[in-house]
Symmetry: D2
Subunit: 149 residues, 4 copies
Protein backbone atom coordinates (compact mmCIF):
# COMPACT_ATOMS: atom_id res chain seq x y z
CA UNK A 1 0.00 0.00 0.00
CA UNK A 2 1.23 3.45 -0.89
CA UNK A 3 0.05 6.40 1.22
CA UNK A 4 0.06 10.13 0.60
CA UNK A 5 -1.33 12.96 2.71
CA UNK A 6 -3.14 15.97 1.30
CA UNK A 7 -4.24 19.09 3.14
CA UNK A 8 -7.60 20.36 1.90
CA UNK A 9 -7.45 23.87 0.53
CA UNK A 10 -10.04 26.62 1.17
CA UNK A 11 -10.97 26.45 -2.52
CA UNK A 12 -11.42 22.65 -2.45
CA UNK A 13 -14.68 23.25 -0.60
CA UNK A 14 -17.84 23.73 -2.62
CA UNK A 15 -21.28 25.25 -2.16
CA UNK A 16 -22.14 22.55 0.39
CA UNK A 17 -19.13 23.48 2.54
CA UNK A 18 -17.68 20.03 1.97
CA UNK A 19 -14.87 18.82 -0.29
CA UNK A 20 -16.01 19.08 -3.90
CA UNK A 21 -16.36 15.72 -5.66
CA UNK A 22 -13.95 16.79 -8.42
CA UNK A 23 -11.09 16.98 -5.93
CA UNK A 24 -11.03 13.21 -5.45
CA UNK A 25 -9.82 12.32 -8.96
CA UNK A 26 -7.16 15.02 -8.51
CA UNK A 27 -6.01 13.72 -5.13
CA UNK A 28 -6.09 10.15 -6.38
CA UNK A 29 -3.86 11.17 -9.31
CA UNK A 30 -1.47 12.84 -6.86
CA UNK A 31 -1.36 9.63 -4.83
CA UNK A 32 -0.52 7.54 -7.90
CA UNK A 33 2.92 9.16 -7.96
CA UNK A 34 4.81 6.17 -6.46
CA UNK A 35 2.95 3.89 -8.90
CA UNK A 36 4.02 6.10 -11.85
CA UNK A 37 7.59 6.01 -10.58
CA UNK A 38 7.75 2.23 -11.04
CA UNK A 39 7.48 2.89 -14.77
CA UNK A 40 9.25 6.26 -14.90
CA UNK A 41 11.56 6.51 -11.87
CA UNK A 42 12.36 10.19 -12.37
CA UNK A 43 8.97 11.17 -13.80
CA UNK A 44 10.92 12.68 -16.64
CA UNK A 45 8.53 13.87 -19.35
CA UNK A 46 11.32 14.01 -21.92
CA UNK A 47 11.38 10.22 -21.79
CA UNK A 48 8.73 8.46 -23.84
CA UNK A 49 5.82 8.16 -21.42
CA UNK A 50 4.20 4.71 -21.40
CA UNK A 51 1.07 4.97 -19.28
CA UNK A 52 -2.44 5.87 -20.35
CA UNK A 53 -5.59 6.19 -18.24
CA UNK A 54 -8.46 3.97 -19.36
CA UNK A 55 -11.00 4.52 -16.61
CA UNK A 56 -11.52 6.19 -13.24
CA UNK A 57 -14.37 5.94 -10.76
CA UNK A 58 -15.06 7.38 -7.33
CA UNK A 59 -17.70 6.49 -4.75
CA UNK A 60 -18.43 9.17 -2.18
CA UNK A 61 -18.85 7.48 1.17
CA UNK A 62 -18.94 10.30 3.69
CA UNK A 63 -18.45 14.02 3.42
CA UNK A 64 -15.00 15.44 3.93
CA UNK A 65 -14.29 18.88 5.32
CA UNK A 66 -11.76 21.68 5.57
CA UNK A 67 -9.48 21.61 8.59
CA UNK A 68 -8.04 18.09 8.79
CA UNK A 69 -5.54 16.27 6.60
CA UNK A 70 -6.68 13.46 4.31
CA UNK A 71 -4.74 10.24 3.83
CA UNK A 72 -4.91 8.65 0.41
CA UNK A 73 -4.19 4.91 0.31
CA UNK A 74 -3.43 3.16 -2.97
CA UNK A 75 -3.43 -0.58 -3.57
CA UNK A 76 -3.29 -2.81 -6.62
CA UNK A 77 -6.62 -4.53 -7.14
CA UNK A 78 -6.01 -6.41 -10.37
CA UNK A 79 -3.11 -7.07 -12.71
CA UNK A 80 -3.91 -7.78 -16.34
CA UNK A 81 -1.53 -8.48 -19.20
CA UNK A 82 -0.96 -4.79 -19.84
CA UNK A 83 -3.33 -3.04 -17.43
CA UNK A 84 -3.34 -2.33 -13.72
CA UNK A 85 -6.48 -1.65 -11.71
CA UNK A 86 -5.64 0.51 -8.72
CA UNK A 87 -7.94 0.79 -5.74
CA UNK A 88 -7.76 4.03 -3.75
CA UNK A 89 -9.27 5.34 -0.53
CA UNK A 90 -9.44 8.79 1.08
CA UNK A 91 -9.54 8.84 4.88
CA UNK A 92 -10.15 11.83 7.14
CA UNK A 93 -10.41 11.76 10.95
CA UNK A 94 -10.39 7.95 10.84
CA UNK A 95 -13.42 7.84 8.53
CA UNK A 96 -13.49 6.61 4.94
CA UNK A 97 -14.54 9.58 2.84
CA UNK A 98 -14.28 8.17 -0.67
CA UNK A 99 -12.94 5.20 -2.56
CA UNK A 100 -12.23 4.72 -6.21
CA UNK A 101 -10.57 2.75 -8.92
CA UNK A 102 -8.28 3.70 -11.77
CA UNK A 103 -7.45 1.48 -14.71
CA UNK A 104 -4.04 2.40 -16.10
CA UNK A 105 -2.60 0.75 -19.21
CA UNK A 106 1.03 0.22 -20.17
CA UNK A 107 0.93 1.70 -23.63
CA UNK A 108 3.08 2.57 -26.63
CA UNK A 109 1.80 5.96 -27.83
CA UNK A 110 3.60 5.78 -31.18
CA UNK A 111 2.50 2.26 -32.14
CA UNK A 112 -0.86 2.97 -30.46
CA UNK A 113 -1.01 -0.41 -28.78
CA UNK A 114 -0.83 -1.76 -25.26
CA UNK A 115 2.40 -3.26 -23.96
CA UNK A 116 2.74 -6.20 -21.55
CA UNK A 117 3.68 -5.23 -18.00
CA UNK A 118 7.44 -5.83 -17.58
CA UNK A 119 8.17 -8.72 -15.19
CA UNK A 120 10.16 -6.61 -12.75
CA UNK A 121 7.39 -4.04 -12.45
CA UNK A 122 4.77 -6.79 -12.16
CA UNK A 123 6.68 -8.30 -9.23
CA UNK A 124 6.86 -4.91 -7.56
CA UNK A 125 3.14 -4.31 -8.11
CA UNK A 126 2.28 -7.66 -6.55
CA UNK A 127 3.74 -6.41 -3.28
CA UNK A 128 1.04 -3.73 -3.19
CA UNK A 129 -1.82 -6.03 -4.05
CA UNK A 130 -5.00 -6.27 -1.96
CA UNK A 131 -4.94 -9.59 -0.14
CA UNK A 132 -7.70 -12.12 -0.55
CA UNK A 133 -10.24 -11.84 2.22
CA UNK A 134 -9.60 -8.10 2.47
CA UNK A 135 -12.97 -6.35 2.44
CA UNK A 136 -11.57 -3.99 -0.17
CA UNK A 137 -11.34 -6.90 -2.59
CA UNK A 138 -15.11 -7.38 -2.53
CA UNK A 139 -16.82 -5.33 -5.16
CA UNK A 140 -18.36 -2.20 -3.74
CA UNK A 141 -20.05 -3.90 -0.78
CA UNK A 142 -18.81 -1.55 1.90
CA UNK A 143 -19.63 1.57 -0.04
CA UNK A 144 -23.19 0.44 -0.70
CA UNK A 145 -23.83 0.13 3.00
CA UNK A 146 -22.78 3.68 3.65
CA UNK A 147 -23.80 5.53 0.54
CA UNK A 148 -26.96 7.61 0.79
CA UNK A 149 -28.51 6.02 -2.33
Amino acid sequence: MWTRTVTPRFGDIDGLRHINNCMLPIWFETAREPFFRLFHPRLDLDEEWRLIMARISVEFVSQMRLGADIEIRTLVKKLGRSSVTLYQEAWQDGVLGARGEAVVVHYDFRAKKSLPLPDGIRAELEKHQIEEGDSRARSGRFAKERNPV
Copy 2:
Protein backbone atom coordinates in the same frame (compact mmCIF):
# COMPACT_ATOMS: atom_id res chain seq x y z
CA MET B 1 -30.14 15.88 -23.89
CA TRP B 2 -28.41 18.90 -22.43
CA THR B 3 -25.30 20.24 -24.16
CA ARG B 4 -22.55 22.56 -23.01
CA THR B 5 -19.38 23.62 -24.78
CA VAL B 6 -16.02 24.00 -23.07
CA THR B 7 -12.84 25.47 -24.51
CA PRO B 8 -9.75 23.56 -23.32
CA ARG B 9 -7.31 25.74 -21.45
CA PHE B 10 -3.51 25.67 -21.84
CA GLY B 11 -3.27 24.32 -18.28
CA ASP B 12 -5.82 21.54 -18.94
CA ILE B 13 -3.10 19.76 -20.89
CA ASP B 14 -0.80 17.40 -19.05
CA GLY B 15 2.63 15.85 -19.52
CA LEU B 16 1.34 13.84 -22.48
CA ARG B 17 0.20 17.01 -24.26
CA HIS B 18 -3.38 15.80 -24.10
CA ILE B 19 -6.27 16.79 -21.86
CA ASN B 20 -5.57 15.58 -18.33
CA ASN B 21 -7.98 12.90 -17.11
CA CYS B 22 -8.95 14.99 -14.07
CA MET B 23 -10.52 17.64 -16.33
CA LEU B 24 -13.35 15.32 -17.32
CA PRO B 25 -15.04 15.15 -13.90
CA ILE B 26 -14.74 18.95 -13.78
CA TRP B 27 -16.25 19.47 -17.24
CA PHE B 28 -18.97 16.93 -16.51
CA GLU B 29 -19.84 18.83 -13.34
CA THR B 30 -20.00 22.06 -15.35
CA ALA B 31 -22.35 20.37 -17.81
CA ARG B 32 -24.67 19.20 -15.03
CA GLU B 33 -25.71 22.83 -14.50
CA PRO B 34 -29.09 22.54 -16.29
CA PHE B 35 -29.75 19.32 -14.33
CA PHE B 36 -28.99 21.11 -11.04
CA ARG B 37 -31.32 23.93 -12.08
CA LEU B 38 -34.28 21.54 -12.16
CA PHE B 39 -33.87 21.22 -8.39
CA HIS B 40 -32.52 24.69 -7.66
CA PRO B 41 -33.65 27.04 -10.45
CA ARG B 42 -31.45 29.94 -9.37
CA LEU B 43 -28.57 27.81 -8.04
CA ASP B 44 -28.91 29.84 -4.88
CA LEU B 45 -26.63 28.41 -2.21
CA ASP B 46 -28.53 30.22 0.55
CA GLU B 47 -31.41 27.84 -0.13
CA GLU B 48 -31.10 24.42 1.46
CA TRP B 49 -29.26 22.40 -1.18
CA ARG B 50 -30.79 18.98 -1.79
CA LEU B 51 -28.40 17.09 -4.06
CA ILE B 52 -25.47 14.89 -3.11
CA MET B 53 -23.04 13.03 -5.36
CA ALA B 54 -22.87 9.30 -4.75
CA ARG B 55 -20.62 8.12 -7.54
CA ILE B 56 -18.81 9.29 -10.67
CA SER B 57 -16.96 7.35 -13.35
CA VAL B 58 -15.20 8.26 -16.57
CA GLU B 59 -13.97 6.07 -19.43
CA PHE B 60 -11.30 7.61 -21.61
CA VAL B 61 -12.07 6.69 -25.21
CA SER B 62 -9.72 8.82 -27.28
CA GLN B 63 -7.27 11.54 -26.45
CA MET B 64 -8.43 15.13 -26.53
CA ARG B 65 -6.23 18.09 -27.33
CA LEU B 66 -5.78 21.83 -27.02
CA GLY B 67 -7.11 23.92 -29.88
CA ALA B 68 -10.70 22.77 -30.48
CA ASP B 69 -13.86 23.16 -28.41
CA ILE B 70 -15.37 20.16 -26.65
CA GLU B 71 -19.08 19.47 -26.50
CA ILE B 72 -20.40 17.82 -23.36
CA ARG B 73 -23.67 15.94 -23.76
CA THR B 74 -25.72 14.92 -20.73
CA LEU B 75 -28.57 12.41 -20.67
CA VAL B 76 -30.54 10.63 -17.97
CA LYS B 77 -29.66 6.94 -17.92
CA LYS B 78 -31.69 5.73 -14.96
CA LEU B 79 -34.25 7.15 -12.55
CA GLY B 80 -34.48 5.57 -9.11
CA ARG B 81 -36.77 6.49 -6.25
CA SER B 82 -34.42 9.19 -5.05
CA SER B 83 -31.38 8.91 -7.32
CA VAL B 84 -30.61 9.89 -10.90
CA THR B 85 -27.89 8.26 -12.99
CA LEU B 86 -26.63 10.71 -15.56
CA TYR B 87 -24.71 9.60 -18.63
CA GLN B 88 -22.27 12.12 -20.13
CA GLU B 89 -20.10 12.28 -23.20
CA ALA B 90 -17.28 14.61 -24.30
CA TRP B 91 -16.92 15.11 -28.06
CA GLN B 92 -14.12 16.91 -29.90
CA ASP B 93 -13.74 17.22 -33.68
CA GLY B 94 -16.63 14.75 -34.12
CA VAL B 95 -14.87 12.07 -32.06
CA LEU B 96 -15.99 10.71 -28.70
CA GLY B 97 -13.21 11.53 -26.27
CA ALA B 98 -14.67 10.31 -23.00
CA ARG B 99 -17.89 9.14 -21.45
CA GLY B 100 -18.97 8.84 -17.87
CA GLU B 101 -21.73 8.42 -15.37
CA ALA B 102 -22.71 10.34 -12.28
CA VAL B 103 -25.11 9.11 -9.63
CA VAL B 104 -26.75 12.07 -7.92
CA VAL B 105 -29.14 11.64 -4.98
CA HIS B 106 -31.99 13.88 -3.87
CA TYR B 107 -31.03 14.27 -0.25
CA ASP B 108 -31.99 15.99 2.99
CA PHE B 109 -28.67 17.03 4.56
CA ARG B 110 -30.22 17.78 7.98
CA ALA B 111 -32.18 14.55 8.35
CA LYS B 112 -29.34 12.73 6.56
CA LYS B 113 -31.67 10.68 4.40
CA SER B 114 -32.58 10.48 0.75
CA LEU B 115 -35.73 12.12 -0.53
CA PRO B 116 -38.02 10.82 -3.32
CA LEU B 117 -37.67 12.67 -6.61
CA PRO B 118 -40.57 15.15 -6.87
CA ASP B 119 -43.05 14.19 -9.60
CA GLY B 120 -42.62 17.39 -11.58
CA ILE B 121 -38.86 17.00 -11.70
CA ARG B 122 -39.17 13.30 -12.54
CA ALA B 123 -41.37 14.19 -15.52
CA GLU B 124 -38.83 16.75 -16.68
CA LEU B 125 -35.96 14.27 -16.28
CA GLU B 126 -37.83 11.69 -18.36
CA LYS B 127 -37.64 14.07 -21.32
CA HIS B 128 -33.85 13.79 -21.21
CA GLN B 129 -33.76 10.01 -20.86
CA ILE B 130 -31.70 7.77 -23.15
CA GLU B 131 -34.09 5.89 -25.42
CA GLU B 132 -34.17 2.13 -25.50
CA GLY B 133 -32.11 0.78 -28.36
CA ASP B 134 -29.71 3.72 -28.06
CA SER B 135 -26.19 2.32 -27.97
CA ARG B 136 -25.53 4.55 -24.99
CA ALA B 137 -28.04 2.52 -22.98
CA ARG B 138 -25.89 -0.60 -23.24
CA SER B 139 -23.49 -0.85 -20.37
CA GLY B 140 -20.00 0.12 -21.39
CA ARG B 141 -19.98 -1.94 -24.59
CA PHE B 142 -18.88 0.84 -26.90
CA ALA B 143 -16.08 1.99 -24.67
CA LYS B 144 -14.63 -1.51 -24.40
CA GLU B 145 -14.32 -1.72 -28.15
CA ARG B 146 -12.29 1.44 -28.31
CA ASN B 147 -10.34 1.47 -25.11
CA PRO B 148 -6.70 0.46 -25.36
CA VAL B 149 -7.04 -2.20 -22.63
Copy 3:
Protein backbone atom coordinates in the same frame (compact mmCIF):
# COMPACT_ATOMS: atom_id res chain seq x y z
CA MET C 1 -11.15 43.61 -26.75
CA TRP C 2 -11.57 39.88 -26.68
CA THR C 3 -14.46 38.43 -24.66
CA ARG C 4 -15.14 34.94 -23.36
CA THR C 5 -17.99 33.68 -21.18
CA VAL C 6 -17.55 31.16 -18.39
CA THR C 7 -20.26 29.44 -16.40
CA PRO C 8 -19.27 29.04 -12.73
CA ARG C 9 -19.19 25.45 -11.59
CA PHE C 10 -20.52 24.13 -8.27
CA GLY C 11 -16.93 23.31 -7.29
CA ASP C 12 -15.68 26.82 -8.16
CA ILE C 13 -17.37 28.03 -4.99
CA ASP C 14 -15.41 28.00 -1.76
CA GLY C 15 -16.09 27.99 1.96
CA LEU C 16 -17.50 31.51 1.73
CA ARG C 17 -20.07 30.43 -0.89
CA HIS C 18 -18.45 32.76 -3.40
CA ILE C 19 -16.15 32.11 -6.34
CA ASN C 20 -12.76 31.02 -5.01
CA ASN C 21 -9.95 33.47 -5.75
CA CYS C 22 -7.90 30.77 -7.51
CA MET C 23 -10.53 30.48 -10.24
CA LEU C 24 -9.69 33.92 -11.60
CA PRO C 25 -6.19 33.08 -12.88
CA ILE C 26 -7.74 29.97 -14.47
CA TRP C 27 -10.55 31.89 -16.16
CA PHE C 28 -8.15 34.62 -17.26
CA GLU C 29 -5.93 31.95 -18.83
CA THR C 30 -8.98 30.52 -20.63
CA ALA C 31 -9.78 33.97 -21.93
CA ARG C 32 -6.27 34.47 -23.29
CA GLU C 33 -7.01 31.87 -25.95
CA PRO C 34 -7.54 34.36 -28.81
CA PHE C 35 -4.35 36.13 -27.75
CA PHE C 36 -2.42 32.83 -27.84
CA ARG C 37 -3.85 32.15 -31.31
CA LEU C 38 -2.15 35.25 -32.70
CA PHE C 39 1.15 33.46 -32.06
CA HIS C 40 0.00 29.87 -32.56
CA PRO C 41 -3.10 29.92 -34.78
CA ARG C 42 -3.95 26.25 -34.25
CA LEU C 43 -2.68 26.05 -30.65
CA ASP C 44 -0.67 23.08 -31.83
CA LEU C 45 1.65 21.93 -29.06
CA ASP C 46 3.81 19.97 -31.50
CA GLU C 47 4.95 23.32 -32.87
CA GLU C 48 7.66 25.03 -30.87
CA TRP C 49 5.72 27.12 -28.37
CA ARG C 50 7.01 30.69 -28.03
CA LEU C 51 5.18 32.26 -25.11
CA ILE C 52 6.11 32.28 -21.46
CA MET C 53 4.27 33.81 -18.51
CA ALA C 54 6.27 36.33 -16.52
CA ARG C 55 3.71 37.66 -14.08
CA ILE C 56 0.03 37.55 -13.18
CA SER C 57 -1.99 39.58 -10.72
CA VAL C 58 -5.64 39.73 -9.75
CA GLU C 59 -7.54 42.29 -7.70
CA PHE C 60 -10.81 41.10 -6.22
CA VAL C 61 -13.34 43.88 -6.56
CA SER C 62 -16.67 42.30 -5.64
CA GLN C 63 -17.72 38.78 -4.80
CA MET C 64 -18.95 36.54 -7.58
CA ARG C 65 -21.46 33.76 -7.12
CA LEU C 66 -22.84 30.56 -8.56
CA GLY C 67 -25.83 30.89 -10.87
CA ALA C 68 -24.91 33.55 -13.43
CA ASP C 69 -22.43 33.54 -16.29
CA ILE C 70 -19.27 35.60 -16.07
CA GLU C 71 -17.85 37.59 -18.96
CA ILE C 72 -14.09 37.87 -19.19
CA ARG C 73 -12.78 40.85 -21.14
CA THR C 74 -9.19 40.99 -22.31
CA LEU C 75 -7.34 44.05 -23.56
CA VAL C 76 -3.73 44.91 -24.32
CA LYS C 77 -2.40 47.36 -21.74
CA LYS C 78 1.22 47.67 -22.82
CA LEU C 79 3.42 46.48 -25.65
CA GLY C 80 7.13 46.09 -24.96
CA ARG C 81 9.86 44.93 -27.30
CA SER C 82 9.16 41.28 -26.54
CA SER C 83 6.49 41.38 -23.83
CA VAL C 84 2.77 42.06 -23.77
CA THR C 85 0.89 43.20 -20.67
CA LEU C 86 -2.71 42.07 -20.87
CA TYR C 87 -5.43 43.62 -18.75
CA GLN C 88 -8.42 41.43 -17.92
CA GLU C 89 -11.75 41.90 -16.20
CA ALA C 90 -14.43 39.51 -14.94
CA TRP C 91 -18.01 40.82 -15.00
CA GLN C 92 -21.10 39.17 -13.52
CA ASP C 93 -24.62 40.66 -13.46
CA GLY C 94 -23.22 43.93 -14.78
CA VAL C 95 -20.78 44.26 -11.88
CA LEU C 96 -16.99 44.12 -12.06
CA GLY C 97 -15.95 41.13 -9.94
CA ALA C 98 -12.21 41.08 -10.52
CA ARG C 99 -9.53 42.55 -12.68
CA GLY C 100 -6.00 41.48 -13.36
CA GLU C 101 -2.90 41.71 -15.47
CA ALA C 102 -0.75 39.13 -17.15
CA VAL C 103 2.71 39.78 -18.55
CA VAL C 104 3.44 37.34 -21.36
CA VAL C 105 6.79 37.22 -23.13
CA HIS C 106 7.61 36.12 -26.67
CA TYR C 107 10.35 33.65 -25.89
CA ASP C 108 12.72 31.14 -27.45
CA PHE C 109 12.78 28.19 -25.02
CA ARG C 110 15.85 26.59 -26.61
CA ALA C 111 18.01 29.68 -26.73
CA LYS C 112 16.45 30.80 -23.42
CA LYS C 113 16.03 34.38 -24.54
CA SER C 114 13.20 36.70 -25.34
CA LEU C 115 12.24 37.38 -28.96
CA PRO C 116 10.96 40.67 -30.40
CA LEU C 117 7.24 40.73 -31.13
CA PRO C 118 6.77 40.14 -34.87
CA ASP C 119 5.45 43.23 -36.67
CA GLY C 120 2.29 41.54 -37.93
CA ILE C 121 1.34 40.37 -34.46
CA ARG C 122 2.20 43.76 -32.96
CA ALA C 123 -0.16 45.42 -35.42
CA GLU C 124 -2.90 42.98 -34.51
CA LEU C 125 -2.31 43.53 -30.77
CA GLU C 126 -2.55 47.29 -31.21
CA LYS C 127 -6.16 46.82 -32.32
CA HIS C 128 -6.96 45.44 -28.86
CA GLN C 129 -5.14 48.12 -26.93
CA ILE C 130 -6.77 50.13 -24.12
CA GLU C 131 -7.35 53.65 -25.37
CA GLU C 132 -5.87 56.64 -23.63
CA GLY C 133 -8.34 58.22 -21.22
CA ASP C 134 -9.90 54.83 -20.55
CA SER C 135 -10.12 54.42 -16.77
CA ARG C 136 -8.62 50.97 -17.20
CA ALA C 137 -5.40 52.59 -18.35
CA ARG C 138 -4.89 54.21 -14.98
CA SER C 139 -2.93 52.03 -12.69
CA GLY C 140 -5.10 50.33 -10.13
CA ARG C 141 -7.03 53.48 -9.19
CA PHE C 142 -10.50 52.08 -9.74
CA ALA C 143 -9.80 48.92 -7.80
CA LYS C 144 -8.55 50.85 -4.80
CA GLU C 145 -11.81 52.73 -4.55
CA ARG C 146 -13.81 49.53 -4.34
CA ASN C 147 -11.55 47.14 -2.52
CA PRO C 148 -12.36 46.50 1.12
CA VAL C 149 -8.82 47.33 2.24
Copy 4:
Protein backbone atom coordinates in the same frame (compact mmCIF):
# COMPACT_ATOMS: atom_id res chain seq x y z
CA MET D 1 8.14 31.70 8.12
CA TRP D 2 5.61 29.00 7.49
CA THR D 3 6.53 26.18 5.08
CA ARG D 4 4.47 23.63 3.25
CA THR D 5 5.53 20.99 0.72
CA VAL D 6 3.54 20.10 -2.38
CA THR D 7 4.16 17.24 -4.78
CA PRO D 8 3.45 18.27 -8.39
CA ARG D 9 0.77 16.18 -10.02
CA PHE D 10 0.89 14.83 -13.58
CA GLY D 11 -2.01 17.13 -14.44
CA ASP D 12 -0.27 20.21 -12.99
CA ILE D 13 1.96 20.19 -16.04
CA ASP D 14 0.86 22.09 -19.13
CA GLY D 15 1.55 22.12 -22.82
CA LEU D 16 5.11 23.29 -22.17
CA ARG D 17 5.79 20.30 -19.91
CA HIS D 18 6.32 22.64 -16.99
CA ILE D 19 4.12 23.52 -14.04
CA ASN D 20 1.17 25.56 -15.28
CA ASN D 21 1.12 29.15 -14.01
CA CYS D 22 -2.38 28.70 -12.53
CA MET D 23 -1.06 26.13 -10.05
CA LEU D 24 0.88 28.77 -8.14
CA PRO D 25 -2.12 30.68 -6.77
CA ILE D 26 -3.55 27.29 -5.76
CA TRP D 27 -0.37 26.17 -3.99
CA PHE D 28 0.02 29.56 -2.37
CA GLU D 29 -3.53 29.29 -1.04
CA THR D 30 -2.74 25.81 0.32
CA ALA D 31 0.31 27.23 2.05
CA ARG D 32 -1.72 30.00 3.70
CA GLU D 33 -3.36 27.37 5.90
CA PRO D 34 -1.32 28.16 9.05
CA PHE D 35 -2.02 31.85 8.47
CA PHE D 36 -5.77 31.17 8.20
CA ARG D 37 -5.58 29.14 11.43
CA LEU D 38 -4.46 32.21 13.38
CA PHE D 39 -7.91 33.64 12.71
CA HIS D 40 -9.88 30.39 12.59
CA PRO D 41 -7.96 27.77 14.60
CA ARG D 42 -10.12 24.83 13.48
CA LEU D 43 -10.87 26.19 9.99
CA ASP D 44 -14.50 25.62 10.84
CA LEU D 45 -16.70 27.02 8.09
CA ASP D 46 -19.74 27.03 10.37
CA GLU D 47 -18.09 29.83 12.29
CA GLU D 48 -18.43 33.27 10.75
CA TRP D 49 -15.43 33.53 8.43
CA ARG D 50 -13.58 36.85 8.72
CA LEU D 51 -11.00 36.90 5.95
CA ILE D 52 -11.35 38.17 2.40
CA MET D 53 -8.81 38.19 -0.41
CA ALA D 54 -8.10 41.62 -1.86
CA ARG D 55 -5.25 40.90 -4.27
CA ILE D 56 -2.87 38.18 -5.40
CA SER D 57 0.14 38.33 -7.67
CA VAL D 58 2.72 35.83 -8.86
CA GLU D 59 6.06 36.34 -10.63
CA PHE D 60 7.38 33.33 -12.49
CA VAL D 61 11.12 33.16 -11.92
CA SER D 62 12.17 29.78 -13.30
CA GLN D 63 10.26 26.86 -14.69
CA MET D 64 9.23 24.09 -12.36
CA ARG D 65 8.81 20.49 -13.37
CA LEU D 66 7.21 17.17 -12.51
CA GLY D 67 9.27 14.80 -10.38
CA ALA D 68 10.49 16.82 -7.41
CA ASP D 69 8.66 18.28 -4.43
CA ILE D 70 8.14 22.01 -4.13
CA GLU D 71 8.52 23.92 -0.88
CA ILE D 72 6.25 26.90 -0.37
CA ARG D 73 7.50 29.51 2.07
CA THR D 74 5.17 32.13 3.49
CA LEU D 75 6.18 35.32 5.28
CA VAL D 76 4.42 38.47 6.40
CA LYS D 77 5.55 41.42 4.30
CA LYS D 78 3.34 44.19 5.66
CA LEU D 79 0.80 44.65 8.43
CA GLY D 80 -1.87 47.29 7.95
CA ARG D 81 -4.69 48.25 10.27
CA SER D 82 -6.92 45.50 8.93
CA SER D 83 -4.92 43.95 6.09
CA VAL D 84 -1.97 41.60 5.89
CA THR D 85 0.34 41.38 2.88
CA LEU D 86 1.83 37.91 2.65
CA TYR D 87 4.92 37.18 0.61
CA GLN D 88 5.29 33.64 -0.73
CA GLU D 89 7.94 31.69 -2.58
CA ALA D 90 7.98 28.31 -4.35
CA TRP D 91 11.32 26.47 -4.33
CA GLN D 92 12.20 23.30 -6.26
CA ASP D 93 15.62 21.62 -6.32
CA GLY D 94 17.09 24.58 -4.45
CA VAL D 95 15.93 27.05 -7.11
CA LEU D 96 13.33 29.78 -6.69
CA GLY D 97 10.53 28.95 -9.14
CA ALA D 98 8.01 31.65 -8.34
CA ARG D 99 7.22 34.29 -5.79
CA GLY D 100 4.04 36.16 -5.05
CA GLU D 101 2.06 38.31 -2.74
CA ALA D 102 -1.43 38.04 -1.31
CA VAL D 103 -3.30 40.83 0.40
CA VAL D 104 -5.79 39.42 2.86
CA VAL D 105 -8.21 41.60 4.82
CA HIS D 106 -9.80 40.99 8.20
CA TYR D 107 -13.39 41.58 7.26
CA ASP D 108 -16.94 41.49 8.59
CA PHE D 109 -19.04 40.00 5.77
CA ARG D 110 -22.37 41.06 7.32
CA ALA D 111 -21.46 44.64 8.04
CA LYS D 112 -19.38 44.69 4.83
CA LYS D 113 -16.51 46.51 6.43
CA SER D 114 -12.94 45.76 7.36
CA LEU D 115 -12.04 44.93 10.96
CA PRO D 116 -8.82 45.89 12.77
CA LEU D 117 -6.38 43.02 13.25
CA PRO D 118 -6.77 41.74 16.83
CA ASP D 119 -3.69 42.48 18.96
CA GLY D 120 -2.97 38.83 19.76
CA ILE D 121 -3.00 37.87 16.09
CA ARG D 122 -0.92 40.91 15.16
CA ALA D 123 1.73 39.85 17.68
CA GLU D 124 1.74 36.35 16.23
CA LEU D 125 2.01 37.70 12.67
CA GLU D 126 4.97 39.87 13.63
CA LYS D 127 6.92 36.69 14.42
CA HIS D 128 6.62 35.71 10.76
CA GLN D 129 7.58 39.09 9.35
CA ILE D 130 10.34 39.56 6.78
CA GLU D 131 13.29 41.16 8.50
CA GLU D 132 14.73 44.43 7.33
CA GLY D 133 17.70 43.89 5.03
CA ASP D 134 16.22 40.64 3.78
CA SER D 135 16.34 40.71 -0.01
CA ARG D 136 12.72 39.62 -0.01
CA ALA D 137 11.77 42.93 1.53
CA ARG D 138 13.00 44.80 -1.53
CA SER D 139 10.25 45.23 -4.03
CA GLY D 140 10.57 42.83 -6.90
CA ARG D 141 14.29 43.42 -7.42
CA PHE D 142 15.39 39.79 -7.36
CA ALA D 143 12.64 38.65 -9.69
CA LYS D 144 13.52 41.29 -12.25
CA GLU D 145 17.04 39.99 -12.50
CA ARG D 146 15.90 36.51 -13.34
CA ASN D 147 12.70 37.04 -15.28
CA PRO D 148 12.94 36.58 -19.03
CA VAL D 149 11.32 39.94 -19.74
